[in-house]
Structure formats: structure tokens, C-alpha cells
């Protein structure tokens, strides 16, 4: 077992002497991560504030038919604007988020106390237009109800008679959970960085060593092949953990500095320690899986071409959950990537993680890592591996 440590130490010395690769591998994540969190946080925050609080400029068609409505909108900080000639095209071209159309018969319907028709023209597939559309719709509903109530009173009808059902709403999302919604992208980033953090090193110490033809003399020493391979995996795991630690630290500091609601994410030391523990199996799985790949391909180039597929893996559960949200169930904590995703979301949303869930999660994660490790060790006994030319 001394051989494992000898190999691991040599690989780490070798890597740390390659300053540029080491810096890139170690620091890129911790620098990019806060940039994304702070940048996106600030952007989202700014956008929301402007869309919610600033005066909304609303193109109105046929404003002259409903001067009262236009005045009411103005009182709610929505300024009527002359409408473009082709409103539908203008919305499609994203010149405007939403256009209000007041029909010619509006005045007549209004006087007859019939529902006066107004139309909102918007594009529901545009995330960006959600807030202005909701603002306009809310104000229109408010206006409709106010006028309806006044009409009822005029005719001696109780305003309450107009509401057959009153819907009360109680949102059970914790404040943390609502903030968590902003963070759907976070698990992916964290999983990706821990999954492939040591990738450069792993590919270099297996496929790279073979390509440089230094594996042959190494395998001619009495050290067991499994020990040599384990040493290499150990080195990559240690490096991956170091890079993970830096990422978690960067994560902690960027949320402490982040603006607005993001600042309230719990980044206390115990939570960060749990996050580290959650990501640890990912480091092991990533390292062993890459070793397995790098040991079975012919060249560094071939190993690297697997990277794009591997980078896609951690995002699969995020996409699946987006399309088909499922309830937390115990089996999910045994599925790689999905499990990490769920665990990180739980941590970010300040939800309690049951002991049972931890047990299943860590058991499955480290178990899979171990299986991959043994598979890679078997591969190292193959004759083909040592022969480079």
C-alpha cells in the first residue's frame, strides 16, 4: 500500500510543477462560479426591480374609447403610449412586451353594463414579458372589480353577491425555498465542477502517461498494477477535493456578497460542510469513471472527446426535473446526478435531510465509486494498456 501513496505523491508533485494546468484546473471554477452567481443575481435583481417598480410604458390601441381606464392605469404607474401600426408583429419582434387593445365597441358595451372587451397581446413563450403582462393583467382585474362593485352598490346589490367563491391562497414555500427557485442552475454547476474537476489530471496520468510512453517502465517495476492505478486515482481524488473545497469556499463568499434575496441563502459552516460531503462521492465517481475511460482508449485525444458527453451528464436530472417534477422519494438518493441534485437543492432550501436519506445517498455514491474503481483496476491488468506504440 506504500506504493499507492508513492504513486499518488509523484503524480501530485508532477502536476503542481505544471503551474499553468494546475492553476487553470484549480482556480477556474472558483473564479467563474462567483462571477456567475453575482452577475446573474445582480442582473435578475435589477431586472425585477425595474419591471416591478418603474413606470411601465404600455402601447394602447384605441385609448380614446376608454379614457377612465387609461387614467386608472396611470394611477397604477402604467403609462399609455400610442400603439404601433401592427401590434402583433411588434410583440413578435420583441419591440414591446405587451400591447393593450381596446375595441371600438368598448364605450357602447360599457354604457350597456355589458362586459367590455379588452385584449392583451403578448408572447407567453418569452420569460422576460411575464412581469409586465402580470402587472397589466392585475391592474385590469382590479379595475374591473372596482367598477363592478360600484355598479352593484348603485343598484342596491351587495358587492359580496358578486363573489360566489372567494379564493384564499396560502403559499407554503419557505422563504428559503422561494429563493431556491432562483438557484435551479446551482446544483448543475456544483456537480459539474466536482464531477470533472480533476479531469485534466486523470486523463494526463493514464492516457497521457501511456502516450508519453512512460507507463511501460512503470509497469516493469514490482509494484502491483492495481496499486499503481489506485495511486493515480487517489492523486486525482485529492486534487478534485482540493478544487472542490475552493469552489465551496467561493460559493460561500459569493453568496455572502450577493445582492438582494440571494444573500439570505444559508452558507454557514455546517451547511457548507454538508455540501462538501454531498459532493465528495461525485469526485470519486468522476475520477474513477474518467480513469476507466482514459485507460481503455488509445490516446489523450480520444479520452478528451468523451468530455462533452460527460459534461452533459450532470444536467440530465435538472432537465428531467424541469420537464417532469417528481416528489422526493428515497430511491432518488441512489441515482447518481439526480441524487446530488436533490441533496444540494435540499441544502440550499434549508430542508432537513433525514438520516436514512444520508445513508442511502452516501452508500450508493461511494458504492458506485468503489465499483468503478475495481473495474478500472481490472483494466490495468490488460496487456494492451501498457503497450503504447
Amino acid at each position: 500500500m506504500k506504493a499507492i501513496w508513492t504513486v499518488a505523491r509523484k503524480e501530485l508533485v508532477d502536476l503542481f510543477r505544471d503551474r499553468k494546468t494546475m492553476m487553470l484546473g484549480l482556480l477556474l471554477g472558483p473564479i467563474v462560479m462567483p462571477a456567475i452567481i453575482l452577475g446573474m443575481g445582480a442582473l435578475a435583481e435589477k431586472k425585477m426591480r425595474t419591471q416591478l417598480e418603474s413606470t411601465l410604458e404600455l402601447p394602447v390601441i384605441g385609448a380614446e374609447h376608454a379614457p377612465n381606464l387609461v387614467a386608472f392605469l396611470k394611477g397604477r404607474n402604467i403609462e399609455a403610449q400610442p400603439a404601433p401600426a401592427d401590434p402583433e408583429q411588434a410583440v413578435r419582434d420583441q419591440d414591446f412586451d405587451v400591447v393593450l387593445k381596446i375595441g371600438e365597441e368598448y364605450g357602447e358595451q360599457w354604457r350597456d353594463s355589458k362586459p367590455a372587451v379588452v385584449e392583451l397581446i403578448y408572447d407567453s413563450s418569452r420569460q422576460d414579458s411575464q412581469i409586465p403582462v402580470n402587472r397589466v393583467r392585475g391592474v385590469l382585474v382590479e379595475y374591473s372589480r372596482t367598477v363592478g362593485v360600484l355598479r352593484g352598490i348603485n343598484r342596491g346589490v351587495s358587492p359580496e353577491a358578486g363573489f360566489a367563491v372567494q379564493v384564499g391562497q396560502r403559499d407554503v414555500a419557505t422563504p428559503e425555498a422561494r429563493r431556491g427557485m432562483l438557484l435551479a442552475f446551482l446544483p448543475y454547476l456544483l456537480i459539474l465542477f466536482s464531477f470533472l474537476g480533476g479531469a485534466a489530471l486523470v486523463i494526463d496520468v493514464t492516457a497521457g502517461e501511456r502516450e508519453r510512453q512512460s507507463l511501460e517502465p512503470l509497469l516493469a517495476t514490482p509494484a502491483a498494477r492495481a496499486a499503481i492505478m489506485s495511486g493515480k486515482i487517489l492523486a486525482a481524488c485529492l486534487f478534485g477535493m482540493l478544487s472542490l473545497l475552493l469552489i465551496v469556499l467561493a460559493f460561500k463568499f459569493s453568496f455572502q456578497l450577493a445582492p438582494g434575496p440571494l444573500q439570505l441563502i444559508d452558507v454557514s459552516v455546517p451547511v457548507m460542510a454538508q455540501l462538501l460531503l454531498v459532493l465528495l462521492p461525485m469526485v470519486l465517481i468522476g475520477t474513477t469513471l474518467l480513469t476507466l475511460i482514459a485507460a481503455s482508449v488509445k490516446s489523450v485525444k480520444e479520452a478528451q472527446s468523451y468530455m462533452s458527453v460527460l459534461m452533459f451528464l450532470p444536467i440530465v436530472p435538472t432537465i428531467m426535473l424541469m420537464v417532469n417534477p417528481v416528489k422526493n422519494q428515497l430511491w432518488q438518493f441512489a441515482v447518481p446526478f439526480l441524487a446530488q441534485n436533490q441533496m444540494i437543492l435540499k441544502l440550499v432550501r434549508s430542508e432537513a435531510i433525514a438520516l436514512q436519506e444520508w445513508a442511502v445517498y452516501l452508500g450508493a455514491g461511494f458504492g458506485l465509486g468503489l465499483v468503478l474503481w475495481l473495474l478500472a483496476a481490472r483494466l490495468y491488468h490488460k496487456e494492451r494498456l501498457a503497450i503504447s506504440a
Binding site: 509523484k10 508533485v13 511501460e216 517502465p217 509497469l219 516493469a220 517495476t221 514490482p222
Partner: protein, 252 residues
């Protein structure tokens, strides 16, 4: 003491199996330098790779100091010092660190490693570059580092695959002196080459290999006698049947 008996090895290729080694067998005794001589692609490297346990033969037996390679490869690797065709010196480590790394993998303690390095650095004249990183080393410096690394555990049997490849005259001479020193210490030395003069200048016995088969075994004088040719290069060309091949090539 190394014994190879009737080794066979073939590889899969797109055009069908390639029979690289077919029935190679010879013996290398302690206190003797045996030269493995053959043209490129004769099966020298494959034979040596089977000897140092990197590949297992399809058929045949190898014994090192009486130990069967197939039965106890680890014990065999402990008794072998191997300089493979590919030197594979780590360029970001110094020469000393390269040697230390292999010393540790052989399970030797630090004090012994240090003493061995000092001793080999003297004999191989590598003191002035011992603590430099090997990136940018000359071919000779790299080979010396690789040889020192291969011999750090003081093995009884030494296998060198084309050790003089790419070395200048003086380095080659120095290396020959070093190999004779190993022989005089009673070690068994096998080295491969495709240059007759190289082998003749150094070896006690020569094994001529061509097309994966042993064509002749003997001292340089015995081989001269056998072929009736005075010039060693002619002897080699005749024994390895290179003329016939060249003629075939010319006709084809």
C-alpha cells in the same frame, strides 16, 4: 540467469493475426553479456516485453533465476532491471526524483536509494545534471537517467532495449564500459540492437533474430566461422537473410 524456451506471440491486426515471435529460445548466463541482434521488426522488443512480464507469451516458458515468469511475475520483476525501448522519463521531475520514484516502487528504503543514486551518478557520470528537471535533457542524459532508474534496486539481471539508440560516440563508449562493469560484477546482461558492430564490440554471445525466429547463436568468432565471412556486417546480413529480402523487395 535467464532462460527463454520456445516463445510464441501473435497480435491481432486488421489484416489478420501477425505472428511476431515464433519459437524464440536462448539462454543468458550470469557474468555474460548477450546481444539480441535483429533488423527492425524482427521481434526483439516483443521478446523482451514477454521477458519483463509486460506481455504474456501465447506459448513457451521463461525463467529468471529459476523462477517461472508466468507463476510469480512480481518476484521476477524484482530481479530484473529493465530499460524499455520507450525511456519514459518524467520531464517535470529531476533526474534524482525520477530514480527515487522507482526506488520507492521497488520498496527500497530512502537511505539505500540515496546511496545507490550517489554510486550510479558517479559511474554513469551524471552528477552535474542529477538535480535538474529532465525537460530539455539531451538524449544521452535521458538514457543515463533511465538506466540509473532501471538499476536502482541493484538487480541481478539487466535488460536493455536498444540502449545506444541516438547516443554519440563518447556516450556510447561510456555506456559500454558501464555494461562491462555490470558483467564483471557477475550480473546477467541482455541487450538488443540492430547494429552488428555495436553488438560485436560488447557481447560475449550473440543471438541473431529475424522474422520472429532465432537464426543463429554464438560468439562473434563462431558466427564468422559458421558463415565463412570475415566482415561482421556481412555475417549479420547473411544470417538474418536480409539480402534475400532486399532482392524480393526489388523484384516486387
Amino acid at each position: 540467469m535467464i532462460r527463454l524456451h520456445d516463445l510464441h506471440k501473435s497480435f491481432k491486426a486488421k489484416t489478420g493475426p501477425v505472428h511476431a515471435v515464433k519459437g524464440v529460445g536462448f539462454e543468458a548466463r550470469d557474468g555474460e553479456i548477450v546481444g539480441l541482434l535483429g533488423p527492425n521488426g524482427a521481434g526483439k522488443t516483443t521478446t523482451l516485453r514477454m521477458l519483463y512480464t509486460l506481455m504474456s507469451p501465447d506459448r513457451g516458458r521463461i525463467e529468471v533465476d529459476g523462477i517461472d515468469v508466468a507463476k510469480d511475475p512480481t518476484a521476477v520483476r524484482q530481479r530484473l532491471g529493465v530499460l524499455p525501448d520507450a525511456r519514459g522519463v518524467y520531464k517535470r521531475l529531476t533526474a534524482r526524483e525520477n530514480i527515487e520514484y522507482f526506488g520507492r516502487l521497488h520498496g527500497i528504503d530512502e537511505a539505500t536509494i540515496a546511496a545507490r543514486i550517489a554510486q550510479m551518478a558517479r559511474t554513469l557520470v551524471m552528477e552535474d545534471f542529477l538535480d535538474r528537471r529532465t525537460e530539455g535533457f539531451s538524449q544521452g542524459q535521458r538514457t543515463k537517467t533511465a538506466i540509473a532508474r532501471a538499476l536502482v534496486h541493484d538487480p541481478r539481471n539487466v535488460i536493455l532495449d536498444e540502449p545506444t539508440n541516438g547516443l554519440d560516440v563518447m556516450t556510447t563508449r561510456g555506456l559500454r564500459g558501464f555494461l562491462r562493469g555490470l558483467r564483471d560484477e557477475g550480473r546477467c546482461v541482455i541487450f538488443s540492437s540492430h547494429i552488428m558492430q555495436e553488438v560485436a564490440a560488447l557481447c560475449d554471445r550473440i543471438v541473431v533474430i529475424a522474422h520472429g525466429e532465432v537464426r543463429a547463436v554464438g560468439t562473434p568468432d563462431e558466427l564468422r566461422e559458421q558463415t565463412g565471412l570475415p566482415d561482421l556486417e556481412d555475417v549479420f546480413v547473411r544470417l538474418a537473410d536480409l539480402e534475400g529480402e532486399a532482392a524480393m523487395g526489388a523484384r516486387a
